[in-house]
């Protein structure tokens, strides 16, 4: 159990991390975003609910670390037309909670996010519940796991080509 002081410090660090991640995503800083990941990172956006088995059922995104890198490389080509021109994005991250320490020492974190996307198609509002596992690596926090549960992931959704 963390002391009150250390928990407040941790909350501050986690909040700063999530805000930074949000800004890098909104500003299409793909490589800096990729550096937030640990080497074993998993990026998961389930479909049809929050708790499907991604090893058996279709997810919107289910990337291991090398596929995260591929996603970033595709965006960096400048020819991923659904992001050429890039969406204008701003997101709010809130309801940040420390959900406790994981067996391996990772920190479980949860938050909500509300993302406003303005693209060639239209303006779209996305809302999600996010779950993270963060890890201290060389004194910095990194993401080992990020799960984005879109509120409407059981419905037909428009193209989701930015980093969510």
């Amino acid at each position: 159990m963390l002391s009150r002081e250390s928990s407040a410090t941790l909350m501050g660090a986690v909040t700063a991390f999530l805000n930074r991640e949000a800004r890098l995503q909104d500003e299409h800083q793909y490589e800096a975003w990729e550096r937030l990941w640990t080497d074993d990172g998993v990026y998961w956006v389930p479909a049809n609910g929050a708790n499907i088995d991604p090893e058996r059922e279709m997810s919107i995104i289910y990337d291991n670390r090398s596929r995260i890198a591929l996603r970033v490389r595709q965006l960096m080509t400048g020819k991923h037309f659904t992001q050429t021109p890039q969406s204008n994005l701003r997101r709010l991250v809130s309801n940040i909670e420390l959900m406790g320490e994981q067996p391996g020492g990772d920190i479980a974190v949860a938050s909500n996010s509300l993302i406003f996307e303005s693209s060639l198609r239209d303006d779209t509002l996305w809302a999600a519940r996010n779950e993270y596992r963060l890890r201290h690596v060389d004194g910095d926090l990194r993401m080992a796991y990020k799960k984005v549960v879109l509120v409407n992931n059981d419905k037909a959704i428009y193209t989701l080509s930015f980093l969510v």
């Binding site: 479909a47 090893e55 591929l70 991923h80 659904t82 239209d122 037909a156 193209t159 969510v164």
Partner: protein
Amino acid sequence: MNVVRRMAQWNELIHPDRIHGSLYTDRSIFEAELQNIWYRTWVYVGHESEVPKANDYVVKSIGPQSVIMTRDEQGKVNLLLNRCSHRGNQVCSYDRGNARSFTCPFHSWTFANDGRLVGYAFPDGYEGQDRAELALGRVTRVESHRGFVFGSFAAEGPTLKEHLGGAAETIDRLVRTSPEGEVEVTAGFLKHRVKANWKFILENECDGYHPAFVHTSIFGVADSMIGKLYGGASTALTRDYGNGHTEIDLRPEFRKRDLPMSWFGTSEERLPDYTARMKAAYGDTAAREIMIDGTPHVMIFPNLFIAEIQMFVIQPLGVDDSVQHVTALQFKGAPDLNRRLRQQTMGSVGPAGFLLADDSEMYERCHRGVLARNPEWVFLGRGEKRERRDELGFKIGHVTDEVPSRGIWAHYRKLMEAA
């Protein structure tokens, strides 16, 4: 009425090598398509493996209409309309489940999963009423081919076999990829919505001209061998099977390579279990042939697309509003292959897929583009002069030729004129 006025005009809107832009954007044309195509011809609804057990059901659609596909106690597959025969409430509000009956939440009428009305609340107001008249609506005709269930609202017309024609063989070819000869649809669907007319999707599925350009971002960064299949030097073909069914036939390229499982970018060594099962099922020679040829890339008009490793179902909701339902194909008796099929499908298609996100961008930009009325026409003449016939008499052309689009529009015109 608008639609009637249009009827005389189909031949003016659709020429062999060009079509009028309004065909994608005119609301009255969309309404006419619902009547003449979606509510008349054979439309793919679902796969039998989605309702494996007695009383299983799954909610599907035909165009904007909600359709419940059930397997009743006798094991028969039914396509019921999700509309109470009392006052129209939707009787089923869950996507899938197992239920012997559906009870309407409004006044509690209860329907068996074969559509029969089995009871109403407070029955004493219904003296002399024939319950059979108040059954759930049904899709008039239901037929299936290799587990793929199609429905037609027309009481008469071609059989499913006649409708599929030469394209039936592509589904036969597909199921041979399973050592047990069966496709399974068990991985759940991604539902990708686009602000575009459904026919942009229909045509794009067998457009072999665009991949070199639209998918250049992913071909460039992943060492994918797909790009070459669609190049100017490719020996792959496009084919028009008639009845609106079209194909990109990649077998000439795969046969040149002569490497089993190369069609899926892998090898026999990486799938030893699958390879052994295929050889046991079909014998060494036939198994090798199947594993070289791969699965088809075929668009069954108007809404079932089999794209080598995926199945897409096109659903029109409005003139500029469409959904693609997509899942990884799964082959019975092939767990190691199935796992890879799921992984690759999740990477490439759906709202965030490396491939499909860019296709969807093209449909939407085309839709906005054709709202401009000068030039009025969409040009589809690529490869017209070099079209030829294959040994079965189907029109074929180079993989980058617009043989499929011309075939689709010729069939479309027949359906719309037949109103």
